[in-house]
Amino acid sequence: MSALEVAVTRRVGEFELDVSFAVESGISVLFGPSGAGKTLTLSLIAGLLRPDTGTITINGHVVSDCERSLFVSTQERRIGMVFQDGLLLPHRTVLDNVALAVRQRTARRERRAMALSWLERVGASQLADRRPGSLSGGQRQRVALARGLAGDPALVLLDEPLSSLDESVRRDLGDLIREVIVASGVPALLVTHDPDEAEKLGDVVIAYREGRVVGSRPVERTDRGPDGEGSEGEPT
């Protein structure tokens, strides 16, 4: 069973998206130039927009099927999302931001403890009491990553999470994103227009151009994760 199966079309003005692909475990990367329809695809998967035709299946559950007029709301899709600018809630502390994403129906104290453990995993526990407005771009994305994973998602979507950061921060945070997501075992779909980033972070690269999938290939790497599916060798 695939973690994600997408076969949809969606027209926005003159632009038409018509894509079909599947995502297995690990990190899959949607790679392509700006305006190719990558972020639009994430919005359709997240349920922030409705497709015109087609189906989307997450972890075996159909969440969008235009023929059957089936549309599962964003909240019920069990996805985690990391946005380009973090999009942390500015009026809440870092810990609150992550704790809000914890979906388990547990006591507030337990949810906050769970949120703190996620902040520790991304190296941001010392920021717990701060407001997002006082954080650097890299710190904000660390917190956003913790928030994206804290809800025990079936799939995590990352929309150009490194694009607004300096080169040195991108390198460190890129390593962290891969390490944390692989360790969590949650399948991920990451969007980028940077070929180096696609090679560095992805297990599979799905190439986009003008609203179409124009290719898909695995990335050979040595750090494939706990299931040991990866083959030995340098990244291609």
């Binding site: 997240a46 922030l48 909240q75 996805i79 985690g80 500015p90 994403a101 804290a150 809800g151």
Partner: protein, 261 residues
Amino acid sequence: MRRWRTGAQTLAAEHRSTAVAVTVVVGFGLGFGVARLLASSIAYWDVVSGPFWLTVRVAVPATMIAGALGIASGYVLAKGRFRGRNLLETIGSLPIILPPTVIGFYLLEVLSPGTRVGGFLTRVVGHALVYNVAGCIIAASVAAYPFCLRAARAAIEGVDPLLEQAARAIGLPDWRVALQVTLPLARRGIAAGLTIGCARALGEYGATLMVGGDINGKTRTLSLAILDSFTTPERNTMFLILVLMAITAMTGVGLLGRSRA
């Protein structure tokens, strides 16, 4: 003490309009308190004290009612995708456009026990809704409502929809997005609307006169008492106390401005 002062200054900086409003109200209260201390030497004290407390009893619940209805309807108008939203806002804003006495006339038509609607409401509530405090509160609520509505709608529309999407993406149901994201982020605009609404409720005259009836000791709010005292010997007392209240309020606002500078 220093920590308290720093906290108060931070709060004042974050919620400027609210801080000014609170300072004005506290200033009025202090001025009233000083006048009360001097009461033994002020003739006709009761002419002011009764209407003052009645005004507080009317304006506070009126602001709460107008605020709750204004925020709720502002949210619906900001988020709803149905035709006629602007028409509804225009209807909700009528108390700003129409003369207060016209509003009072319509309220009398609706609330008087002799009318069909008023009779029904009177039976439901168990007592009349005109010529008593309830009537004054309704009149002040209607006067304050459009300010709360318009400010709430504008503030809610100003909230970044991407933040609301992000909140949905982490699993928050829509009602929690509204309560924990949208309204807190719109709080400054909403607070500004409540402030203006409260000021309008405090100073309401025309509709209160018609629905409340300006009954001495029962429905005579401060605005009504000011005009009533103009042709009586209490005029000087009223003048003295109002000046005292204005001076303390303005001094407070001045100090607030200096503490921020």
